[in-house]
Structure formats: C-alpha cells, structure tokens
Symmetry: C2
Amino acid sequence: MPTSKDVAQAAGVAQSTVSYVLSGKRPISEKTRKKVEDAIQQLTYQPNAGARALASRKTRVIGLVIPFIPELHMASIMEFVSVIANTARLYDHDILLVTEDEGAPGLKRVVGQQICDGLILMQVEGDDERLPVVRSLNVPVVLIGIPHDPSGLVCIDADFEMAGEQCVQDLAAAGHSVISVIGWQPEVVERHVNYVERFMSGTDKAAQDAGVRVLHLPGGTDRDVIATSVDKALAETTGVPAFIAPDGTVQDVLRRVLNNRGLTPGVDVSVIGSASPTLAELQPIPLSTIDLRPAEVSRRAVKIICDLLEAENHGPHESLELVPTVITHRSSTLRPPHGS
Amino acid sequence: MPTSKDVAQAAGVAQSTVSYVLSGKRPISEKTRKKVEDAIQQLTYQPNAGARALASRKTRVIGLVIPFIPELHMASIMEFVSVIANTARLYDHDILLVTEDEGAPGLKRVVGQQICDGLILMQVEGDDERLPVVRSLNVPVVLIGIPHDPSGLVCIDADFEMAGEQCVQDLAAAGHSVISVIGWQPEVVERHVNYVERFMSGTDKAAQDAGVRVLHLPGGTDRDVIATSVDKALAETTGVPAFIAPDGTVQDVLRRVLNNRGLTPGVDVSVIGSASPTLAELQPIPLSTIDLRPAEVSRRAVKIICDLLEAENHGPHESLELVPTVITHRSSTLRPPHGS
DNA sequence: ACGCATCGTCGATACGCATCGATAAATCGA
DNA sequence: TCGATTTATCGATGCGTATCGACGATGCGT
C-alpha cells in the first residue's frame, strides 16, 4: 500500500504538501497540485483511515444501533438501514453496525474506543434504558423515535400524531362514523414505544373534532387476535366499517380476515394500511396508505448527525424533528361524497 | 479520553508494560498486572482504535456488503445481517456496512483505506461483476452464494441442491407423483443467482430417482403470476397436488391462492415452504418447511473470515462450504403412508 | 530600490499504540 | 560465591497522517 510519503516522493514534494492538496486547507499552486494528483493516480493512493483518525481525531464513521426483535417488521428496518448507509456515504461517512444485543455497554465501547464519531439509535423506546448512557457520551447521538423525556437529546421520527389525525379525518370525511384502529403487537405496545401513544393521540383528537368514534383494538401477527379485533369492531360499528392498520405486519393478516368475512376493501369496508407506495400498488386491491416515510426519516437523521459532527461544538444539543406523514388514496377506501 | 500513557503513569509503569498487559504477548508479574488493571478500571481506559490499527495494521473490522433489492426477502436479509454482526462480536470484530450501491469501487475503497481487514459479500450472483475485484484485493473475502466460477474464492451457502432433493424425496414418499416448484421471482432468476439452478438440479435429480415428475413454474410476489402457475400445476397434476415454495416472498401469496381454489394444505394439497421454525409455527396451518439455515450460514461465514484473518497467510485461498438444509414436517404436507 | 505583506512549500512534531532490543533483577547450577 | 540463564520491565522507534511554524520567493506600493 502506498503512503502519502510515497506520493510526495513521486511528485517531488513534501509529504505535507500532499496532505494539503488532499484537504485543501492551504493554497497550492496549480502546477504542484497537478503533479501530486498525477502521482496519486499512478500509485492508486488511498489515505490510511487509521492514521487519519489518529491525527485528525475523526473516524468519519457513524455507529448505527439496530434492533432485531422478531415482532418488528424487519423489511422496514432494513429500509432504514439501507437508506442510512447510502446517505452517510453522501456525507463521506461510513456506517458501523452496533447490534442491540450489546446494549448500553456496546455504545460505550464503540465511542470509548473511538471507532465512531457519533451514533444513530433506531427504535428508541419511551423509557429506553440506554438514554442515561447516551446523555453521558460526549459525542453526537441522533435518536430515531421520541422517548418520554427527550430533554438533552436529539430526536427525529415520523409525525405519528399527524398520521393518526390524517387517517381519521380522511375516513370521517368519507362518511365513516366508527373507525377501528388495529394497532401494534402487544409486545410493542408494552414496550412503551412512544409512537403508539402518539398515533392514538392523533386519532382521538381528530375523532373529537370530526365527531366520530375511534376504537383501539389489539393487533399483531396472530391471526386469532386480529380476527377477534375485527369481529369486535364489526359488532360496534354502525354503517360501513373502517379500519386503520398502521403496522406493516398487521395489514396482511387483516386483509385475509376481512376477506374471510366477505368484506371487500373499497366496497363495503375501508382500509388504510402502512406500506411503501410500490408495495401498496402491488396489493390485489391497491391499498390506501398512511406513509410514515422511513426513507425521509433516515435521510434526515444522517443529515442531522453529520451537521453536528461538522459543527464540532460537542456540547449537549437538543432538538426534536417530526417528519410529516402522507396519506394516499388508492382503492381500499371509500370515496368521500362529492362536495365535502 | 485517557491513553495508555495515562494508565502507565497511574500504575507507575512504562507505557509498553500496559500494552503487554493488554495483549499478553510478554510475561507480566502478578503484581504489576494488578496495578495496571486497577489503573485501567479507575480511568475507564479503552484503547484507541485508530492508533491500534495504525500500529498493528489490523482494524478488527469486517466489511459486510449488503444487497438492497426490492425483489429479495428483506426480512431474511436482515437475519443474515443481525447474526453476522453478533457473531463478529464473539470474535472481537465489528461490522462495517457497505451498500451494494457502491459496487466494486466501494470494495476497493474500504479495503484501500484500510477501514476493513476483510469482507463478506452477501447475495453473490452467478456471474457477479465484483468477482474480478474480489480476486485482486489482497484481503480475505468470504462470499455467501456460489458464483459460476468459484476458483480462487472462498464461498459458503446453504446446500440448495440438497434442499431440492429433500423436498422432492419427501413429497414423493408421501405419494405425490407430480410436484410443482413455484420458484423465485423472474428478476431473481434472470440475475443468474446460482442457487436457483442448484435447487432445480436437486429437485430434478431426486425426481428421476423417485420416478416422479417435477414442474418448474414462475413465482414472485405478483398474485396473478402465482395464480397462473398454480392453475397450470393443477391442470398437469394427477392425484393430490404438491407445491414447493422455496422463496419466502412466495409462500404467503401461494397460500392465499390455494385457499381461493378451495384447497387446504395438509388435506387435499401438500405445501413445503421456506421459513424459520417460529414463523412456520405461526401460520394458520403450521407449515412444513425446508430450512435454509441462514443463521448457520451467517455464523460460518464469520468464522471462516475470522480464521483467515488470524491465519495471516494472506495468499489467495479457495474453499467451498455447503450448509446442510433441514426439512421439517408440520401440518401442511400429507403424511407418508405407513411402511414406506 | 527597499521594506512589507502574500503565497506556496517544507520540515518537524504529535496523535496513541505495538513491538523490538536492551537492561536490571531474580534464579539456578556447580 | 560467581557466571549463565531466565524473567520482568523499560526506553525507543515506527505506523501514516494532519497541522503548525518557518522560510524563501514573489508582488506590491512608495
């Protein structure tokens, strides 16, 4: 492997000059710049990351703490991971995986060993055990998810409250008077994942404004649980029933249960699910969706942490950013009556 | 951040002694070892990764190249990623994410900058464009998947041929004379992903031995495609129909299509799918499965690369490891007649 | 023509650790 | 008791880069 010294020698300049050509932190004449760049090309020189980190005290690596809980929708986690990694590259950073198995000590490790300049935590829970550690780390950390007490933390998430409002407003406008939310798995709810509560608060607020009733029923992947929830909803509903399934894992099961009951989405029942546009279009009946915009959340998380890393002001920061959700009509919901 | 010099000072020894305590590469008296370890505790010292990498020429980081193709079953990709990351920690290594978007230049980058000591490539295709680059990199690389020409490469994968054989043998023993494979998505097949061919070769070999017929039909996530495949299969089948759905994305759709046709798995049709044991049990009718053992493949991939890294003999290696698959009867297949 | 600022480059040093050779201390045999 | 080993520790050096101070060369105004 060639070093910057080799490049310097080949170009007939000092090693420091090579460094300045690369960083641009001092003016370099066009002539020597050319010589150096040619030498870099010919030697296929690439700076050594370890040495760079040692000298500059920056690794240009971001730690990404990923959850791996069977209850979660792994496909959507994967979308976060992928977009985060690609976005980080745009900022000339790399992503180091930190699995949740390592817990809080894992965070201390990667930061303490200075493998990472900062962290992104996914799937932050309402009362996450890692928060005290996060606050004590002297590096930028961005949380995806809003804990109960976000003081001193930098958080970003989809605006679940807005999502809840949009769903209910939309179904109310379509004429539904009772709207059932088939929610997340009990495991997720018990974990006090904050977004569940935020979504509910949104639905309830909108329900009050619109004068409709909202039922909150248990969801999950268990067909029986969902079937029970659906039957309860149907029993309580007057008029055309409406369902909201904000969890990706729920909607497949829900669709089948409704099918069993002889209900066709868009005809004698309304369904709003949560899926990417492409996936929604692929459904037998194109699914009206509330888009929680995981890609946008991911991109912003990376931008935030890179900005913090650049700012260099490593004092504790605090911010809270909510990404607006988007509701999209397809064929699984009733059309609102004209003029309303 | 304390350095090893700080530790040395606190313990009243030389910095090199601290280093030897940590590495164990020279004998240290019990007394000074104790002093040093106490100092490490009190200062919460953690060695600086950059400096360590610079001095030792080892980063203890493995690059993991992940695919992100909508056609793939993201949930299972995620299982690979998670198990790989956790296993790497057992060998005291970390995982750096390299997205496929970076392509071959990305591999050169992470290796050239010496961010990584080695690479694991997932979802290697039959004629992968990255193979020439992989061969030219002077670091250990483990491929998950078997390319057409595996010479000079280290590969590991599930034994898809065995999987195909097991499925067909099993269904033949249960009395089926025509067996239909609802395969992968056309996009996957066209990509010449080698495991498709290996699976087919296994089914065909077993079919010949058992004297049964195997139909290969297109799969995917598109309901219509699968419905067409199912109807074609039913038309060609004499006796009780049997289906094999080796792709995780296919089986959900398949189940619904069969349901629509009034066919109940385990009663008037046999179905073998591919899913983790937990997921298989959760199905309405517990699914008989061919387990491709992604976790075991992941663990072995990490072990192989860590062994190579330790061996230090960075000359080109070559090996090919196939992980045996496991077929498990649950309720979605017919029981074989007694005595056979 | 002379001092002065500006520009472009160089040399030296620090970053934190691993490792090698050397040395002092302890152990042993005769 | 003295040299020959072995054992435990130290000091010095190198890894490859970033960065600071210094310095010669150039251009400017007067």
